[in-house]
Symmetry: C2
Subunit: 345 residues, 2 copies
DNA sequence: TTGTAAGCGTTATCAT
DNA sequence: ATGATAACGCTTACAA
């Protein structure tokens, strides 16, 4: 491995060309494989590149070629365990294609998101992958007119260079709720996510559908709203418990919400799953290590990231990419148990 | 002939200049506040900028000025809860200074790290913040010769434009171990992190020092090595439990390791803290919601990120920035309890 | 195959 | 104060 040379003098294409006794276009061609070049010149150039430890200036390259080989990625929270998985998938797949990600955060704030999207444009990214968010759909459509967009977790009206990827939230919620019913639970509480958030809404719909199909009544008093984070799960669970409502199972809108709910129960010495069953949604890596390990609906977060990055590379190649809904899978671990009548609250 | 839905024509400085009836230098001056310009021209330019929705091209700007206002950030894992906090701190502080982060991952792999570091150079970043890592110190020193570097969590020999930030790992480990001893524990196991990792080594030293100061013998059989992740904690704890060694408390080298150890105990119906006390290190956000909430050593991860970004902006202003060791704080939550003789294994 | 030269969109150095 | 004009480092017709 070579080390960066001490002197800060910049080595340019021209310098390499001079050193190798060829023109700069020839060097450029060799570096980019743009055209065939005679073997001796090729060797001479490679030798000079080595000797001077030459590194092409990406800025200049991009300015001249009009392409940056960079894909903007608008996440919401750079430290979130959920978005982190998406980012990792995107990063890995992009790396395999020779593209570089440029990560920015929108903080679940439409204005921030829009500002970041503009920023990405000024950075001349070749395309943008958007993870959730609240930014105006019309703005996004106009945006997709300037640069290809892959949208994760948010269904948008189809457009030529705008592809949407997601999972079947409704089905996942339906499956896990149905499973709870199979275990004998009749009164199942639900801690929802943000109102207006599509994932949250779809999961609620799946939950209600499962109840209905089982001939169970939907009970408004069994619904609380969280914020997709632990804090919201904790508070919502407390409210549920304080309300005096009767239930033997809880469906949390996502795993983080479930963690919070779990703590609320721990505080009151309510055993999981002996007293109350608990399920989440997402299957975050941490859910494997929660106490007890969480029963949840697995969505292939990392893989979706990879698919998103792959969709982007296709878009950049000019291909047409269809929208895609990926399947989810019920993962039964240890927070669910058969209802024991006596244990019901 | 113009395509109705073709790519939007690019608005350039020159176009704005023409529209405003001034030279492009004047526009540039107004945009950058580089010099004073008459009010009427100022207004004319601003109007044109508005009308054409002009956005300066960062690439061209950087190429011409030699500065990108971009700071490379080499993390290890984009989805790690620990690094995530660092990144968030860096992102927030950088945003406040008008700098943009460029995140890349090294995956705890010296070769990857070096490749990414080279990549950052190629992207002409103004400076680089490195989070941990295994890359050769000599390489880093040479690197810091080309561009200012802020290193997090890894002590390096001082250099003019290389500043190292960290926490007092030894002290934190000492404090938490001492607290365990105060609670009556005499046989305290330790699940270490990676060998050769400075954090891991320092924490081990603090642990040993605490034992020694309390007149307790260091017992090799009470030491296992994890990998700073849940998986390693689980395996290490299993080995500890299988070894037949006697102990009533466990000091895990970091919180993630503690989560894994926690699961190992849950599987064997060992109660925490009733049967065995457990402590971690870091105080990840998730530790507040683990079951039970984890006693740990808090290091201000997010704040360190901010300090790192601040150090970088100072470096970029040409200031001299001293190395800094930040204090840690013992956070007693619910995984620690007084030793009850009968409960000792 | 190879070289020449005209950009790419800004900033910066000169004069004026 | 303002405007030419030369960089910045590279790609890419267009020639040869």
């Amino acid at each position: 491995m070579k080390k960066p040379s001490g002197p800060p003098e910049t080595v340019t294409l021209a310098k390499i060309a001079r050193a190798a006794g060829v023109s700069s276009s020839t060097v450029s061609r060799i570096l980019n494989g743009t055209a065939r070049v005679s073997a001796d010149k090729q060797r001479a150039v490679e030798e000079a590149v080595q000797r001077y430890n030459y590194r092409p200036n990406v800025l200049a390259r991009s300015l001249a070629s009009g392409r940056t080989h960079t894909v903007g990625v608008l996440t919401q929270d750079i430290s979130s365990p959920f978005y982190g998985e998406w980012l990792r998938g995107i990063e890995d797949e992009l790396a395999a294609t020779g593209l570089s990600p440029l990560f920015v955060s929108g903080h679940w704030n439409a204005a921030d998101e829009q500002r970041q999207l503009e920023h990405l444009l000024t950075r001349c990214v070749d395309g943008v992958i958007v993870l959730h968010g609240l930014v105006d759909p019309d703005y996004l459509r106009a945006y997709a007119d300037r640069v290809p967009v892959v949208m994760l977790g948010r269904p948008l009206e189809p457009m030529p260079r705008l592809v949407c990827l997601g999972v079947d939230n409704r089905q996942g919620a339906y499956d896990v709720t149905t499973r709870l019913i199979e275990l004998g639970h009749r009164r199942i509480a639900h801690i929802a996510g943000h109102a207006l958030q599509p994932d949250s809404e779809q999961r609620m719909i799946g939950y209600r559908q499962a109840l209905e199909d089982a001939g169970l009544a939907f009970d408004e008093t069994l619904i609380e709203r969280g914020n997709f984070e632990e804090s919201g799960g904790l508070v919502a669970m407390d409210r549920l418990l304080d309300s005096g409502a009767t239930f033997s199972a809880v469906f949390a809108a996502n795993d983080q919400t479930a963690y919070g709910a779990r703590l609320a129960m721990y505080r009151r010495h309510i055993r999981v799953p002996d007293d109350i069953s608990l399920v989440g949604f997402d299957d975050l890596p941490a859910s494997l290590y929660s106490t007890p390990p969480l029963t949840t609906v697995r969505q292939p977060i990392y893989d979706i990231g990879r698919v998103a990055a792959d969709a982007m590379t296709r878009l950049l190649r000019g291909e047409t990419v269809p929208n895609q809904i990926m399947p989810v899978e019920l993962i039964e671990r240890e927070t669910t148990a058969k209802l024991v009548e006596a244990a019901s609250l």
